[in-house]
């Protein structure tokens, strides 16, 4: 069964049984391989799912925005590199921000970027949650995400890197997003998130602590690089072993932090 619904209707409905279809890049795989396990597909067609608007100092991005539309939107310049890291052009035309929040390991690289940007997740019933809390209970969550919001930032403060085995595109060995404010080369604010380094994208809090007050040079970031392994809980998968991921994580973080801006 497929249903077309509005957000308003879902807010009223006491119980929604079914799976929300975003771009289909994850859910349609399950439909193709095991349709009998998904009784109902629910499509939300409200235009507000694809809106980008400013509220105070926060930028609201509709959960139905595709990666391609993020790339094309002039207010979302900071997120462009993360959106471009998702799949080829066809996947980017389909995959949505909302779907990416639910993407299981090793997918979900865009969510890594949102995590570093301290995003909030907004639900159809008006409830909101910070992204980190949301990710902890994600797999049990049955609510419809209508939007995410992030602090308006300058693109200069945001760095993103996705590491893959195949070029130009592949699935993540790992991804790293860093929101750094470092006026005069000394870090005042640091939020670091990793993808493919645990069951969900995760914050590297020990690394962040070690970075605060540090200078952005080889010597300055060494304590942060040493701290990073305590933050990560990678698993073996066909793309890379946990050992490999741990071994290369500090190296890629170093390259990202020392990237010439």
């Amino acid at each position: 069964m497929t249903q077309v619904q509005t957000i308003a209707h879902l807010t009223d409905a006491a119980n929604v049984t079914g799976a929300f279809l975003g771009g289909g890049t994850l859910l349609m795989r399950d439909v193709n391989y095991a349709a009998h396990t998904i009784p109902t597909l629910i499509r939300i067609t409200d235009p507000m799912m694809r809106e980008v608007r400013t509220e105070g100092d926060r930028l609201w991005i509709g959960a139905g925005m595709t990666m391609a539309s993020v790339v094309a939107h002039r207010d979302l310049e900071a997120l462009k590199s993360a959106a471009l890291a998702i799949g080829g052009p066809a996947v980017r035309n389909m995959a949505t921000i909302g779907g990416n929040l639910f993407a299981p390991h090793p997918y979900g690289d865009f969510t890594v970027a949102l995590l570093a940007l301290d995003a909030k997740v907004h639900f159809a019933n008006g409830r909101e949650s910070d992204l980190e809390t949301f990710l902890r209970g994600r797999d049990q969550n049955r609510e419809l995400v209508t939007a995410v919001s992030i602090q308006r930032i300058s693109g200069a403060d945001f760095r993103f890197k996705k590491v893959t085995r195949t070029k130009p595109k592949g699935v993540s060995v790992l991804s790293i997003a860093a929101h750094l404010e470092a006026p005069g080369g000394r870090v005042t604010t640091a939020r670091i998130a990793f993808g493919a380094m645990g069951p969900t994208p995760l914050r590297a809090k020990a690394t962040e602590t070690a970075l605060r007050g540090a200078s952005l040079d080889e010597g300055g970031i060494t304590p942060a690089l040493n701290a990073v392994l305590t933050d990560l809980e990678p698993a073996d998968d066909p793309l890379a072993s946990a050992w490999y991921r741990r071994t290369v994580a500090p190296i890629h973080l170093k390259r990202l932090l020392l990237e010439r801006r």
């Binding site: 193709n32 391989y33 095991a34 349709a35 009998h36």
Partner: protein
Amino acid sequence: MTTVEFRKDLFANERQDDLNEIGKPKIRQDIEGHVTGRTAYFDDHLFEGLLHMRCVRSPHHHARIRSLNAAEAERMPGVVRVIYPRDVPNNLNTLLSLINFGRDDEPLLSHQKVAYRGEAVLAIIAETEAQARAAVDAVRVEWDELPHVLDVEDALKPGAPVVNEEYPNNCFDYEPYDHVKLRFGDVHAAFQQADHVVEATYEMSPIEHAPVETCGAIAAPETNGRYVCHTATQALFFSLGTTAKFLDMPSSRLHFIGGTVGGGFGGKVDSLTEPLAVLGAMLSGKPVKFMWDREEEMQVGAPRGAERWVIKDGVMADGRIIARSLTGYFDAGAYTRLSSYAGTKCTGHLPGPYTIPNVASNVFCVYTNRTPATAMRGFGITGVDFAIECHMDRVAEKVGMDPISLRILNSYRDGDMKAHRRSAKNCALVECCQVAAGKANWTLSAEDQAATSLTGTNANRQEIPETALDEDGRVGERKAGRVATTEPSLGTRRLPAGTHGRSHAAVAPQRPDMQILAERVGHRMDSEPQPMPEQSAAQVSAPRPPAPPRAAPPSPPPAAPPLQTQNTQPAPMAPVQSTPVPTYPPAAPPTSETEPAPKPFQKGVRRPGVSRFLSGSRRR
């Protein structure tokens, strides 16, 4: 654009340079269909009321089926037919039975136990693919998990779980041994004389072909009891014969259509989808499609098998390799398929393209609880070449030599004796090394630059040495714990120097029209001997010193001058009749120890369990 460079300066006088097509751009005859989307692959044939087939597959590496209940699945919406193992008329096969090699060891649908993850135990036909998938999920199977073995060397240990009941020793029977033997000279004696002995182990993982089009077939009833089958197979008549055998029906009732394959690379010869699709069409009376999804292609689709190689070289300080011992393990997975052939083929390739006076190899085809392996681009050769070339670098490092120089020094030269007791001819490794070095801006010594494959052989390099033979590893001994090692061991008897191999005689064609006439296939046979290498050697080497480049004798006797007449004569193979009588029991001639006597090919199929209806095979 990608270009091909032709080095016509090399061996220029060995061929007539009158090629009209090679080296010139050509538009593929099928490409217009490809770019317009009109090329018809097997799945591009529309049938009214097409049914879809899916399989119930093992989630375990190794398990016995305690019970299987498909009652609920049979009642599910859209389900047309459940196919049980008992529905397969002749549920045991081995692919190479079509050329009478090996014993039947693999069911189409397994009914007692499964020996690899993904092995099929049941097939379900439904009106839609989604219904077939739902029904597959509704089948209840109780599995008794068995201990499994995933490593080739573990599988050869006496206490290892038996993977394949037909081969209880966990390796293919290359009668009378459980491996293929190659013996030339005495490696153990040579290791004693060597300045260095370099040993290392190399491993290659299985490689999935991952064609973009997955394996599949559509079968439909035609008239007069015939069935049409559109298939993605790379080997149409192989798949046809295999289907005829599984279904115990005359091949004349099967109308197989193939030809356009969406990528194969060797992975579409195993013929697993065609028999089930045709059986489905027979049992349902309707068109049935059986196409693997991507997960099946990756899990069930046979890969290039894993290999492990232990190579031990005896090398002199100047870089001459005087002994090479190789122990190879081909991981066949749970069933034989084509891996038995890989072991034989690979032995024919050892010790690589190098003249080494003492060579011994043991090559095993081992069963493990992994996905059965199959053909892939040069299988049997590619893996061991990787190992050998890695090892050459290691040897070069050990003796402190340039790795390309080491290769040029040890390369086959025209006229050298190979470990298979045949003369090397048309050798070109020296020239390949020189060109590759040039392309890589790698500096070679003047001596290496001057080397050529045409010269450099000598009496020592043409010699067949006295050879140490052993009887280790007769079938069954290993499992009984009576064989200590898998590596070539010390010999127990000697084969005199100079003993040539014997040619296998091919039987006469069944009918006169099966005789391949060279003229008919456009091959020109020259009656006049070709006067080439002598002159070319003289021309090419004119400005250089006349002595063979560094072709120092590998063993004690002094170097003989190059035999100038060697290249104009046929390879120094003694005819069968004049072979010197060896002084060892008559059972095992040296180069074909796995075959007691040079039996001619057997034509047709006359064995129990083999379809009576298969036609004879031509001598190829």
